[in-house]
Amino acid sequence: MRLIVHLIVFMVIVSLNGSLVNAAPQHTSSAHDWEMMDEVFQKANEAYRQKDFHTAERLYKDLLTSNVVSADLYYNLGTTCAQLGKTGEAVLYLEKALKLRPHSEDVLANLNIVSPPGNVEEPFILIQPFYYIMRLLTFRQWLWACVICYGAVMILLSIRLLNERSERAVRVLLRSSLVLFIVISCFAAWSYYHTHQLRYVVVISPAASVYSGPSQTFTRLLTPSEGQKLRLLPYDDPEWRRVVLPTGQYGFIRNDVVREI
């Protein structure tokens, strides 16, 4: 029993340590780099405040080229692109921000303004509550919840094994945490499928076309509006992307008129 207590204490310490580690910037090689990036970010914000959207866009994109991944950066860049009338890019960056923060109200509000009709996913009405829950957390957060829940199940199981005359509360807790673990695992798997398996592209050109084959000689199936989100299918061609049309048909669109979210 004493051993288990020690292990639990150890795990809590390690968890806290891990959380702290993860909270720190990971993409920067050093704190100095991060400070420089933050400085550029603040300059870009200042340019936006002065309504110098071009400068703001350039600075935000400079940060992107430095492999900075930040929901705030994507949100600010998407909003700036929207101010510049670049609907396609605005939708692209706001969607990227939404991927990192699925329930950010600001991101959702701006996305609703700039997105062309039909971009917003509406799952079947019975699935909507579950979909809402799934979007509450990112896949990473679901994974953490899943592992923590797993740990809780294991520890409660250990207590149950070591203390056969354990309290009823322990048994109830064990069963509850087991059910919770299964539910969280399902949501984590769904979130994984949603964020890692379903791939989307955003049309960034005002004059793009979807053809029935990977060439402009094929029949034109659709003229998507700028900013339209299309589901991507695997296709091995550097010049063409295979997409699913809103009608459910498959089509091909030139790679240079779309960007993957």
């Binding site: 991944v69 700036t80 929207a82 009338g85 990192l100 592992v147 797993y150």
Partner: protein, 639 residues
């Protein structure tokens, strides 16, 4: 044509119970035409199926051999009496006209022999048809049908069944689209005179459609599943006409081109032939020959004449902006919106070239430079076709995507395309109407990504500051740059794995502990015994190290350890058991007597060392220790 064939008589049995008759159909055949010879056996009470012995026909008689053509059985119940009527059919043909006689057939039924009547018939000459009988409108347009089963019929069927090709012109221009259609013509009366039943017709074999390899073709009417006949009278002659195939073709080269014939094999039923076997007929009467899908008839391949075309070249020189379309066309232009915002809205300018001809080959027109309009991308094209008043109308649509770059009135000037007009036989320039756009000032920049760069907006492209920011947009996030990662990195994965592994390890350890505990609970004595043995061995080992320091204490400890172990073995309290009790207990557990004696001596020696101190040497003490170990090891095996 005189009817000479007759049923000469009917053979009856001696009891006049069975009736055997023979007849042929048709009764006035022509050479080559299939003739059905039927033998009917009508008996009231036949137990067995009759056997028919056909008459021998001499090889030089002009009649071919009989070929089985099926058997039918009819059952009639009249006044409670059942009658079975068998009909045996055979087919043959006459190779020449003239008078013929078929000797009686012999029928064996229920052990009796019956004979049928003789059949006499006349085969008349094949009716001679000539092109002179054809309506003048069809002269040189009709090909004779093919009848491989009866070549003699081919002449007789000339002009009664054929495929008529209809082509707009036999001297088209290069690139001119022309309609080619094929129609099946059938003269029902003419077919009846040739003993073919126009009401019983079905497709058979492979249809040969012209390949049209030297044309671009667009199929308008494919081969139908069912023929739909309509009556058409040509020069007071009635024809049933069914459309077969229609295609729009465009010659790909100039000069003489031949289009091969269209061939359609058709199976006709024969007038007067025995009816098709019914599914209700007994198939067991003639297992090998029964085929419910077989039709007694003849296959006639209707065909068209080959078509010869002389394709003309277009007049030269062609105008430099000739788009390649040949026919009669119109050109129209439209925009999807005429009130737009500068630098924001994308305008779709749609040009439609439509008419009778090959609009699909038309190349896009070049858009003139328009002040205040930016062309975003190469035009997108689409084609469509429809048949209007039996004419193919094709259209080609060119969609130009534009964006206004300045506010005010912007005029899209007429766009022109040059086509070759087949009606006037000359090149004609078609022009669209002028379109005026009303452009409102926009919030975007005036310089836009054009044509080549339109698809990838460059981040470095110069843009003017937006004059009116979109206020409905929520404001940017101005806090500290917070970095995050939606992906789970390697370090995090390791950490998560560590948590999972640690918790799993805890559970596994707990499980092991739990299992051990359960086993201990199941047999506490064995556990206690094993524990006492291990404890004793440990203590003896520790005693070994202290030997020689104090022999009294050493002996005391040996006695104590030994008593404790034996008490555990005998399930008693060590302090409460005397030497006597221990020895008795061991004796009950079948420990050998000499071992018990050795134990008693050892314990007494140890006790005597305790109560009457004797100084033992080091070797004596080690000997005592070894004896104690031996006793323990030997007793540990007993139950």
């Amino acid at each position: 044509m005189a009817l000479l064939a007759a049923v000469a008589g009917v053979g009856y049995s001696q009891q006049d119970l069975c009736k055997v008759s023979a007849l042929i159909a048709p009764r006035n055949p022509v050479p080559g035409e299939p003739i059905v010879y039927s033998v009917q056996v009508d008996c009231p009470s036949l137990q067995e199926t009759p056997l028919v012995q056909l008459p021998d026909l001499a090889p030089d008689s002009g009649l071919s051999e009989f070929k089985p053509a099926g058997t039918t059985t009819q059952i009639q119940v009249i006044n409670g009496q059942m009658r079975k009527i068998y009909e045996f059919r055979y087919s043959f043909a006459a190779s020449k006209p003239g008078e013929f006689e078929i000797p009686p057939a012999t029928v064996a039924a229920d052990g009796q022999i019956f004979e049928s009547n003789r059949v006499r018939f006349h085969v008349s000459q094949t009716p001679q048809s000539s092109s002179a009988e054809l309506p003048p409108e069809l002269n040189n347009l009709v090909a004779p049908p093919r009848v491989p089963e009866a070549p003699q019929l081919e002449k007789g069927l000339f002009g009664k069944i054929f495929i008529l090709p209809v082509i707009e012109t036999t001297q088209p221009l290069s690139g001119q689209q022309i309609l080619l259609s094929y129609h099946l013509f059938i003269d029902p009366e003419g077919l009846k005179s040739a003993r073919l039943n126009p009401g019983r017709i079905r497709g058979t074999g492979e249809i040969q459609v012209p390949q049209l390899k030297e044309f671009l073709k667009e199929e308008l009417y494919g081969l139908p599943q069912n023929l739909r006949f309509e009556e058409q009278i040509i020069n007071s002659r009635r024809y049933a006409v069914a459309p077969l195939y229609q295609v729009a073709v465009t010659p790909t080269r100039t000069g003489h081109i031949v289009i091969e014939p269209f061939r359609l094999p058709l199976r006709f039923g024969l007038i007067g032939a025995a009816r098709r076997p019914s599914l209700f007929d007994s198939p067991f009467d003639d297992l090998l020959l029964f085929d419910p899908f077989d039709e007694e008839g003849i296959t006639v391949t209707a065909q068209s004449i080959p078509l010869e075309l002389d394709v003309q070249a277009l007049p030269k020189p062609a105008p430099p902006d000739f788009c390649g379309a040949v026919g009669t066309f119109t050109l129209s232009a439209s925009v999807d919106k005429d009130h737009v915002t500068a630098n924001e809205d994308v305008i779709r300018l749609r040009l439609v070239l439509e008419g009778e001809g090959n609009a699909a080959v038309a190349s896009p027109p070049s858009l003139p430079a328009i002040d205040g309009i930016q062309l975003l991308e190469e035009p997108k094209t689409s084609t469509s076709k429809k048949v209007n008043n039996n004419k193919l109308v094709t259209s080609k649509t060119f969609d130009f995507y534009l964006r206004a770059t300045r506010s005010g009135k912007v005029v899209i000037p007429p766009v022109s395309m040059t086509v070759f007009d087949t009606k006037n036989y000359r090149y004609e320039s078609l022009k669209t109407q002028e379109i005026t756009l009303t452009v409102a000032p926009g919030t975007n920049t005036s310089v836009l990504t054009a044509l080549t760069t339109a698809t990838l907006p460059s981040p470095t492209s110069p843009r003017e500051p937006a004059s009116a920011p979109r206020k409905e947009l929520r404001y940017i996030h101005e806090g500290e740059l917070a970095l995050e990662d939606s992906q789970v990195n390697a370090r995090e994965t390791l950490f998560l794995a560590l948590i999972a592994a640690a918790s799993t390890a805890i559970a596994v350890v707990s499980l092991i502990v739990s299992v051990v505990r359960r086993r201990r609970m199941q047999d506490p004595y064995a556990y206690k015994k094993g524990q006492a043995y291990r404890k004793f061995v440990d203590r003896l080992n520790s005693l070994k190290r202290s030997a020689g320091t104090n022999s009294t204490a050493f002996c005391e400890q040996i006695a104590e350890v030994l008593r404790e172990y034996l008490a555990a073995l005998l399930r008693g309290e060590p302090s409460a058991m005397t030497t006597e009790e221990i020895c008795n207990g061991l004796a009950e557990r079948n420990v050998p007597e000499e071992k018990i004696v050795q134990l008693r001596q050892l314990l007494e020696k140890c006790d005597s060392a305790r109560y009457a101190p004797i100084a033992y040497s080091q070797s004596e003490l080690m000997e005592l220790l070894e004896k104690a170990r031996q006793i323990v090891e030997e007793t540990s095996a007993c139950d």
